[in-house]
């Protein structure tokens, strides 16, 4: 019995960590390329909306996935335009992007679907569960990591891919150099703008998958504000992990676990009030950010007063 609980818990952790992983991996390249992008929340939200939109149009969850990516990438292009071309302030533009997503998705519910607050398409199709054949059915492993949607597996693969890009590919070398010394890159004959655009589009792509997963692999609908601050939690993971794919992924799993365990506690009527349980992932994220920043601060030292 307890065995079942644990496998399910792992499965739930994976599911909850997926949007965090994807968003974090997307954000890591931006952060490393000296782009302070906290508009990831907005990318995710718009992806959730557009994936539902495309499912409504076609009835196919796969098209929904593509549609989610499409919406997110479009928004990331807007961000890129303002931040790269117009040299707008990164934080303000991120805030604006989040507002655009909240505003547009809330607004368009009426003219497109004729509803308010949320929408579930009549022909809702969720992302199909993928079965990895070689795992023995009914085993612990099977219950834990099998039969997840493609987004979940993609999120794990993308951790590895992000690591490869960042540390093993020329593009990654350019991104890392950009985040350290923009002029070093510029004088090397590389246009920083091109690299930054790629990083932002990458974030758009990954957040698109995250948003689609949220809407059609997890919730089966779109509701206003459904991202619930996950974009910021993912950003906390980025900070905690020092923009390193492996450490950030660990943070995402921890946050995902907190989420999953919280739901389990709620359902088990353990006597802890819902509100307190729901607080926990954010408290955890806060502590994670504080501790990792502290460690970094101590390492840097500057006997001067500036922080």
């Amino acid at each position: 019995m307890s065995d079942l609980l644990n496998a399910d818990l792992i499965a739930a952790t994976l599911r909850m960590a997926t949007p965090l992983l994807l968003t974090a991996m997307g954000g890591i390249l931006c952060q490393r390329a000296a782009i302070f992008n906290i508009g990831l929340e907005g990318y995710m939200l718009i992806a959730s909306f557009s994936s539902i939109l495309f499912i409504d149009l076609t009835g196919s969850s796969f098209v929904g996935l593509l549609g989610g990516i499409f919406g997110s990438v479009l928004l990331s292009l807007v961000y890129a335009l303002f931040v790269i071309r117009f040299r707008a302030n990164h934080i303000l533009t991120s805030i604006s992007v989040n507002y655009i997503a909240t505003g547009l998705t809330g607004f368009l519910l009426m003219p497109i679907f004729g509803v308010k607050g949320g929408y579930r398409p009549a022909n809702m199709s969720t992302l199909p569960a993928i079965r990895i054949g070689i795992i023995k059915e009914g085993s612990f492993l099977d219950k834990a990591i099998n039969n997840h949607t493609i987004a979940v597996y993609l999120s794990l693969i993308l951790v590895v891919v992000t690591y490869l890009i960042l540390f093993k590919m020329p593009l990654g070398m350019k991104i890392r150099s950009l985040g350290s010394n923009e002029n070093a890159v510029r004088t090397a004959g590389i246009k920083p703008e091109k690299i930054q655009l790629i990083a932002i589009l990458w974030a758009g792509l990954l957040c698109g998958i995250a948003g689609a997963h949220l809407a059609s692999g997890y919730a089966s609908e779109f509701s206003e504000g459904m991202t619930q601050g996950r974009g910021f939690t993912a950003f906390s993971a980025i900070v905690f992990g020092g923009a390193h794919p492996v450490f950030c992924a660990i943070a995402c799993f921890i946050f995902g676990f907190a989420d999953a365990a919280g739901i389990r506690l709620e359902l088990a009527n353990a006597g802890i009030p819902t509100g307190i349980i729901k607080m926990f992932p954010y408290v955890l994220a806060c502590i994670a950010v504080a501790l990792s920043s502290l460690v970094r601060m101590k390492r840097m030292v500057s006997s001067k007063e500036i922080f």
Binding site: A34, I38, F82, R85, F86, R87, A88, N89, I91, L92, T93, I95, S96, V97, Y99, I100, T102, G103, L104, T105, G106, F107, L109, M110, P111, K116, S180, N181, E182, R186, P192, E224, Q228, G229, F232, T233, F235, S236, V239, P273, T274, G275, I276, K278, M279, Y282, V283, A285, C286, V289, A290, L291, S293, L294, M297, M300, S302, K304, I306, F307
Partner: protein, 374 residues
């Protein structure tokens, strides 16, 4: 005397004049953008303006009702942003102020009203200050960026107040069903400013707060230090300014003002704590101050504009189904353009050359780059 006023006027408003013009243009562009969206969505094209007109002419009291909290949240953000502090947590600080005020009002009913009311207000402000102060301390002693921590603290505050309102402060009967606390004692309610309307004398409090803040920011040593850390912290530190203290006081003050906004919503409008009553007053405060260029003098004008917009959107939603999230789109466009520093000069030329690319000031070992090129 007349000359003194004229001199002060011209020294203050001439440079501000170009800023006002620029912000006005941004507002117009944002409204036009929203109108375009409304039109292509199949609604009546002038919905935005009808809504705004209604908010000014027929429903001015509704507008004023929103003007009061927006003044305060805008002010809270202005104080923080001016000091270079990205306080995204005004919503959370507002809630913490409100829940504390509610708790004190409900639980301390043995204290006579003339003492209890100021206590309620004060406790709310202190709660807001503490909530913001947490993020402040994390930044000062851990280097944790407040732009992230304040947002996380928001969510913590949301869930915490949910818990309180569904738990310890749960109302009885109808209020329990409505997910709200009980009504606070009537002798703690703020009297109406405009009889028969929702506008309480909280509006007066807000205006007083703006005037006080203007004074603090522009005439005191603290205000000068706040501006210094917001523009160049290294310079401030070099000059002997206690940057840690200034940072903390600024963010705490910001939180206190946000807390006050929450308190006034409780004692002036709702008279109880309904779950999640705020509907983004905090985030609106961010846009208010961004449009107002972080100046205490500009917050009232900007706040009034967004109050009109907000009230107008409620009205238009009732009349014609145009969702009120349209306002969020307007706000997004305003922030977008302010962030891009949209000015008269054509930014395309400016960015063709790389020379305006200022290298990020890194904690590296050989950056002594002169901003001006040789």
């Amino acid at each position: 005397m007349k000359k003194l006023i004229k001199d002060w006027f011209s020294s203050k408003f001439k440079p501000a004049g170009t800023t006002v013009l620029r912000q006005a243009i941004i507002v117009v562009i944002a409204l036009v953008g929203a109108t375009i969206l409304v039109y292509i969505s199949g609604f009546q094209w002038d919905s935005v303006f009808i809504g705004m007109k209604g908010a000014i002419q027929e429903d001015i009291t509704g507008t004023l009702r929103w003007f009061s909290p927006l003044l305060l949240t805008g002010l809270a953000c202005a104080v923080a942003f001016r000091g270079g502090i990205w306080n995204m947590g005004v919503d959370g600080q507002l809630y913490m102020g409100a829940i504390t005020a509610t708790a004190v009002a409900l639980k301390c009913n043995s204290i006579p009203a003339p003492i209890l009311l100021p206590l309620v207000i004060l406790s709310g402000m202190v709660a807001g200050a503490i909530w913001a102060g947490i993020a402040g301390l994390l930044r000062i002693y851990c280097g944790a960026k407040e732009v992230v921590t304040t947002v996380l603290l928001n969510y913590i505050a949301f869930h915490f107040t949910d818990y309180m309102v569904l738990g310890p402060l749960k109302g009885s009967g109808g209020y329990a069903v409505a997910e709200s606390s009980d009504l606070i004692a009537e002798n703690l309610w703020l009297p109406r400013l405009i009889p028969g309307s929702a506008v309480s004398i909280g509006l007066i409090f807000s205006i007083v707060a703006v005037i006080l803040s203007y004074f603090i920011l522009n005439v005191t040593t603290f205000g000068y230090e706040n501006k210094l850390i917001g523009t160049n912290m290294a310079f401030a530190s070099y000059g002997g300014v206690n940057v840690k203290r200034t940072f903390f006081v600024s963010i705490a003050l910001s939180g206190a003002i946000a807390g006050l906004a929450g308190v006034i919503e409780i004692i002036g409008i709702h008279h109880r704590f309904p779950i999640r009553f705020s509907s983004n007053l905090g985030f609106d405060g961010i846009v208010v101050t961004i449009l107002a260029n972080n100046s205490a003098a500009g917050v009232p004008i900007s706040g009034l504009f967004f109050a009109i917009l907000r009230n107008g959107s409620y009205n238009i939603e009732r009349l014609s189904d145009v969702p009120r999230t349209l306002v969020t789109v307007v706000q997004a466009l305003v922030i977008l353009m302010v962030g891009a520093k949209f000015v008269f000069r054509n930014s395309w030329h400016r960015n063709k050359d790389k020379e305006n690319a200022e290298p990020k000031r890194l904690l590296s070992f050989f950056t002594r780059k002169e901003k001006r090129c040789e």
